[in-house]
């Protein structure tokens, strides 16, 4: 980091030391730093849980015992039965299996490929799986709208669910980019009336908020609650129809192919239990910090807009856009100042497309910053960020404007 220092854009403009100590990591929605309890569980399980849990020998039985314990613990946290829950190799894999397995179980040659719906602000894994179904099986796909805060339009969602031959409806628990909580209870009621299974992608909220009721399928990702990368969760209600969409395999209740990573699954379970235990304390602190960012950014930065629902939101995520600023420059300059954030601006994406979430909301996509606070975020770090941001934005605006003339 020292190599990036200079006199005007130093790594520590507020003089707090935050940028130098790593306290400016604000990308927990991409990856929450590994919880200490996950590290302890992982190290212990590397010694005890390495064998094949499907085998009957003592090493295998020990691995199976650990896997069973992890499954019971995660199932209890997420509100399902252990036999409804499978571990996957990522949140994305969980979503793909959920969407494809639920739809293909209900498709039939005689009644056609059917219809799938998802809100426009779902994780790209949901939208990509729906698109895949359309291309490969000719299923119809409806993408339903959201309001300016990113909240799904329940009436449109319910009307789409009531369409003939609807095989699956998908609504996230909360949005991963702007933090807005989705009306899952109302959507679940509409789906129950229409007898349509509902997939709730709870990746953004699991471990931070209770899981909403009313789902038929549930997905989540451990790295977003402080577990290791490479562990996802797929839960399928016993009452929901589901069929393996890929070549069958005996693992994980015949729902997920491949050898489960028992040590990392144990670490994921330990961190979820720890995150839930700390939730009451952490939630209030993060909520207050996010509220401060929401109030301070538009007050200190001219032409800045804060996105998402100010009240019905996740505790740790806030997204805003600064007019006349390029997002890539903003992320780079903030990084040089010691603050790690993500951005939905097109220039930051591999695809060069702006965030589909911001686009669906009709929100400004350039100059975009997502701040997502890890559980250990400090008042001091947020204060330093709020000091550092206005001069950085002002400097980029001057540079961009000079480039247009």
């Amino acid at each position: 980091m020292a190599a990036g220092m200079n006199a005007t854009a130093g790594p520590d403009p507020a003089g707090t030391g935050v940028g130098l100590t790593g306290g400016g990591y604000f990308d927990a929605a991409s990856a929450e730093p590994l919880h200490p309890s996950a590290r302890d569980a992982l190290l212990a399980a590397l010694d005890d849980g390495w064998a094949d849990p499907a085998r009957l020998h003592r090493e295998g039985r020990r691995a199976q015992l650990l896997l069973d314990q992890a499954r019971e613990s995660v199932a209890a946290e997420l509100g399902c039965r252990p036999d409804e829950l499978s571990f996957t190799s990522s949140g994305t894999q969980a979503i793909h299996l959920a969407v494809l397995g639920a739809v293909q179980a209900r498709q039939s040659a005689s009644r056609g490929p059917g219809h799938v719906l998802a809100s426009a602000v779902e994780h790209s894994a949901v939208l990509n799986a729906a698109d895949w179904l359309h291309r490969v099986t000719d299923a119809a796909v409806s993408i339903t709208g959201v309001d300016g805060l990113g909240r799904a339009d329940v009436a449109e969602f319910a009307a789409a669910a009531a369409r003939d031959r609807t095989l699956l409806a998908c609504l996230q628990s909360a949005n991963h980019e702007v933090g807005t909580i989705q009306p899952v209870a109302e959507a679940a009621e509409a789906c129950a009336r229409a007898r349509v299974p509902l997939l709730v992608d709870a990746a953004a909220s699991a471990g931070r908020l209770p899981v909403p009721d009313g789902w038929s399928l549930l997905t989540a990702s451990a790295r977003k609650w402080g577990g290791p990368a490479g562990v996802g969760v797929l839960a399928v209600r016993r009452t929901a129809r589901w069929r393996e969409p890929f070549p069958p395999d005996d693992r994980e209740g015949r729902r997920v192919p491949g050898f489960p990573n028992v040590p990392e699954i144990l670490a994921a379970a330990a961190s979820l239990t720890a995150a839930s235990g700390e939730r009451a304390a952490v939630d209030g602190v993060l909520r207050a910090l996010v509220a401060r960012i929401r109030a301070t950014v538009p007050a200190r930065v001219p032409d800045a807009v804060v996105h998402g629902d100010p009240d019905a939101r996740l505790p740790h995520i806030v997204t805003f856009s600064c007019l006349y600023v390029d997002g890539e420059a903003l992320v780079t300059e903030l990084d040089r100042a010691g603050f790690s954030v993500s951005s939905g601006s097109a220039c930051v994406a591999d695809t060069r497309q702006p965030s589909h979430v911001l686009a669906a909301m009709g929100a400004l996509t350039h100059g975009n910053v997502r701040v997502s606070l890890p559980r250990a975020a400090s008042d001091q770090a947020v204060t330093a960020f709020l000091e550092a941001l206005p001069p950085i934005v002002a400097r980029i605006r001057e540079t961009v404007r000079a480039g247009t003339q």
Partner: protein, 81 residues
């Protein structure tokens, strides 16, 4: 494309320019047309499709519409004040 079929009073060529440059060009020059008249912005950065309407909402200008060009789009904005 423009509901009144009137030609835009000013055309800004932002083809090949990445956001936020098309927005900056519009913000800098919209006052060159009389109130009630329109500005056309030509742009091919996909972000412009979201950001020009969003800018109009933020700045209380009227986004009249967009149409496809062989490369990119033509966006029409009416100056409201």
């Amino acid at each position: 494309m423009t509901p009144s079929n009137r030609r835009p009073s000013l055309t800004l060529d932002a083809l090949g320019k990445k956001c936020p440059v098309p927005i900056i060009m519009l913000a800098d020059r919209i006052r060159e047309v009389p109130i009630g008249q329109t500005v056309e912005v030509l742009a091919d950065d996909p972000a412009a499709r979201t950001d020009l309407p969003a800018w109009c909402t933020l700045k209380s200008q009227e986004f009249v519409g967009a149409s496809d060009l062989p490369i990119g789009w033509s966006f029409v904005i009416r100056r409201c004040y």
